[in-house]
Symmetry: C2
Subunit: 280 residues, 2 copies
């Protein structure tokens, strides 16, 4: 199957590598607004060739993957659906509701499968792409009843071929649950980085002491704001909801420290330990 | 050199494995308040033999490592210094000031080297011990001028033999800097786990969406409260200091989301990105 990937960053690039490796793609055609990304993707064998524009990418592809930041998925998706004939279109956006609402009434809506492969690293760009990024991870397919059976089946087969496990959510649920689990983790990590940079002015000390747990907890704070600002923007209400809870929880730890109530502090830590039963 | 390790958990156990592997130890003698830990340590080849009590461990060792939770280091250290002749004693405690103050006037103070190897995982007990846990990590030696030259040299040689890099802090500085970098990371991670457990009642959703950054950010929330409560207790004032800053920072993110000030939000994320220059 000929696959066109629009957006050759970490996710688009990794999909290119993974789909060639799995054999699902007979050919990968790339397009990116950045010429440098296209050159890099060609050099790294992420794509077999690059298209000169989106229209020609669409013409030469059976399946089109939109792997650009979420606000551009929103903008580009209607145009892409305008241009396709029988091709299938999917996206990789970290938010879903505003995207699907944008094409709700589009006559080609059923050619589109809203998806979110839950994988990533804190790095970005084609040079960060990894062929095994998706292996063993979960891909969320949203509102599957809105897509035609062939489109869903093809997109699922694509993600399955690169080792992903499929789960099905509604778009609005997806945005709530990703805010509650993934988006809050990013804000927490960014806040931790800023806290430590503010308090610990001696960067040697940070470097020396980072192995005491700081470096893994702060990993996400290396993530690209270009990717994440639009996610927080589009999913603001759900993020605010879980952020309020997070501030309450941290403030509770503060109160217990002030009151020296280490018994209650211990109980909260034990409760938090339950997370290991879920994550295994 | 014959090394006695008191406390055969993650850190004590890993030291046993590492010091045998490096050849620095000709013999490892173990002691733990838990019989199970001692049996396990023997079975896992962490120790060559176990002592029946601390006095006999001290008698048969040239160097004694105290690898118990910090509040027990405080309690045991004076007794151990009472019992030694020319042996060297060191500890691995995550806080330092109250420990060194406890033995400030002890006639054998100079036989003691206060140290903190900055390494660990979220797991505990001898079965979690890893021979390469310390490789490439930093070991903080505190108040080196309070220890005799031979003791410092021996302890440094021990940590160097297992691949650690030595840095020198004052005990009070150590406690400030570890609060600012390591202890706050643990509180942040525990709070994140509680937040997500509270908001996301469907544990399947947590499991499915964890690869979106949650699982690494929450890793430390699996840590043992038995180890960490005494650390927060002994280093409470410094932890509160950085915790206040952390609450301010997260609250600032909240305010910016409420005001939809994504420009300022972006600038803060960019500032947080600087952490990657320090951590490399």
């Amino acid at each position: 199957m000929k696959i066109g990937i629009i957006g050759l960053g970490l996710i688009g690039g990794s999909l290119g590598l993974a789909l060639k490796k799995s054999g699902f793609a007979s050919k990968i055609i790339g397009y990116d607004i950045s010429e440098d990304h296209m050159d890099e993707a060609k050099k790294l064998n992420i794509v077999d060739c690059n298209a000169s524009d989106m229209v020609s990418l669409i013409k030469s592809s059976d399946l089109i993957i939109l792997a650009v930041p979420v606000q551009y998925i929103e903008t580009l998706l209607p145009d892409i659906l305008d241009s396709i004939e029988n091709q299938i279109v999917t996206d990789v956006g970290s938010t879903k509701l505003t995207i699907v609402n944008k094409v709700k009434e589009h006559p080609k809506r059923s050619n589109f499968v809203a998806s979110h492969p839950m994988a990533g690293t804190e790095f970005s760009g084609p040079q960060a792409a990894l062929p095994d990024l998706f292996k063993g991870k979960v891909c969320v397919i949203c509102d599957r009843e809105e897509s035609n059976a062939n489109a869903v089946q093809t997109v699922e087969a694509m993600y399955t071929s690169i080792g992903m496990n499929i789960v099905n959510y509604r778009s609005d649920d997806h945005d709530v649950h990703t805010a509650y689990v993934s988006h809050i983790s990013h804000i927490s990590s960014f806040a931790l980085a800023l806290t430590v940079l503010e308090k610990e002015k001696n960067s040697n000390r940070i470097f020396e002491l980072a192995s005491g747990g700081f470096s893994s907890t702060v990993r996400l704070a290396k993530s690209n704001p270009e990717t994440w600002i639009p996610i927080f923007e589009l999913n603001r209400d759900n993020v605010l909801d879980v952020l309020d809870e997070h501030i309450n929880t941290i403030s509770q730890f503060r109160t217990l420290l002030i009151k020296k109530d280490f018994k209650k502090f211990y109980q909260l830590m034990e409760k938090a330990n339950n997370i290991q039963k879920i994550l295994k």
